[in-house]
Subunit: 272 residues, 2 copies
């Protein structure tokens, strides 16, 4: 998918919403457990129910890996299902991979070839070698961890007297060849850092987790982070997919997604 | 596996060797390709040929993930094969995972429960939340990236005016509860940093990649890093498993492993 395809979808739907499929098998309704692949059935229902309100789906790898081969099967079926039925949705593998060059090549192959994701999240700790192999792919995006939404994000991301590490990451990676294929993770709980981040990265898309369960404010994020081309994808996982853990889970997920989309739409109108 | 079990194996075998199963399907001998699971057949042959010379096997996840469900099947068969046939070998999932708490829980479950690895590598960028869930497991080890062996390691690992990031990572993580379950990745190409690292971490085991293909010196590493309880695992991947890409691959892998073990044994004798 290209940047303009993504922007077009945002415009059409008045939505910046990314639905996070952190599909914990221990939290999906009991009624689904008898299926051959309960997690896939759950995902399918969530995707069908929420697709009109979101422009992106993000799959959190950990919840699939924890189930071994079966989990990997649910994962592949899910990405294939989205690509077949909703090919205009921007798909993200939330994998946070990061390794030396020949290994990063293999991770890029996993997410961009073996599976057909539009984007993958990567961790910058090992530097340039660990990011460049992902950037070789045309019409694919690499989402580097900038500043994250968790409590201990500042343990190392704020390290450094003159420039905190996360800023150094933004500054350096933005000079890489094909840097236009980069996006960045910026936690919604760090909304006060967003305007500074926008000075460093005036054009890049930011993936914003932490709205909802983690407590970030949607209004603040749009206020600080929105650009002419939108430049924001806002993720909600648990707040949508586990809005209900009963048999009405798909309906409640739809309502939660619709509610977030409505808030986004209003805020987008206000900011024109 | 406990720390004393590992130390006992090192003592018995006079070896610090970890054999890295970076089993790239494009580099394994053509004669194996007709098998139902060529990568597993390759791994089995390598493991059988090298187990007497090494105390550990490290599986590089990327080379399995790049092959999707089939790759994950090869992976599970490989770890099960080692655990059944060579239960005294210390097994490492080289995964470099790192995510927020509820996601890190799932990764820990993947490597310590769904699969029975003794250790997993993790990336520290997201801080304490992303490491602690792994440390809850008794007799399991969590290997944090300290300073890595790749060219661009210094891009971010050296960031900071007073204390470079990698030192801050060592200093902070070493204060975590159950820090005795931590080990650290320290690239062999950074051997000059090893004596300083030993001042910060006098007792922890260090996993040293980068001897061989990446150019690090074995002698230097032992000289700077060895402690009374050894405290070193030295990984070689490509130098062993692809010592030959012909039908004699297992024999050549055995010779390469034996050669490294012999060098280690000599250096260990000298340092008594």
């Amino acid at each position: 998918m290209t940047r303009s395809d993504l922007i077009e979808q945002i415009q059409l739907k008045n939505s910046l919403l990314c639905v996070g499929l952190d599909s914990d098998i221990n939290r999906i309704p009991l009624s689904l457990i008898a299926n051959e692949d309960p997690v896939f059935e759950f995902n399918k229902a969530i995707i069908d129910a929420t697709h009109s309100y979101c422009v992106s789906f993000k799959i959190n790898m950990a919840f699939y890996e924890s189930r071994g081969v079966e989990g990997w099967q649910s994962l592949e079926k899910t990405i294939d299902y989205i690509n077949e039925n909703y090919p205009k949705h921007f798909t993200i593998a939330d994998a946070k991979r990061g390794d030396i060059g020949n290994t990063a090549d293999q991770y890029a192959k996993a997410f961009f070839e073996a599976m057909d994701f539009d984007a993958v999240t990567v961790a910058p700790y090992m530097g340039r070698d660990s990011v460049l192999p992902f950037l070789k792919y045309t019409n694919k995006f690499t989402i580097v961890l900038g500043i994250t939404s968790n409590d201990s994000a500042s343990d190392f991301q704020m390290h450094g007297e003159e420039t905190p590490l996360y800023k150094e990451v933004l500054l350096k990676t933005a000079t890489y060849p094909f840097a236009e294929r980069l996006m960045y993770v910026v936690g919604a709980t760090k909304a006060d850092a967003l305007s500074e981040i926008r000075e460093i990265l005036p054009n890049h898309f930011l993936l914003i987790p932490g709205v909802g369960a983690q407590g970030g404010s949607l209004k603040e994020v749009l206020h600080q982070g929105l650009i002419k081309d939108y430049g924001l994808l806002i993720n909600s996982s648990r707040g949508i997919i586990f809005a209900s853990e009963g048999n009405d889970f798909a309906l409640k997920a739809k309502e939660a997604a619709a509610d977030l989309q409505k808030q986004m739409s209003t805020l987008l109108q206000e900011s024109i």
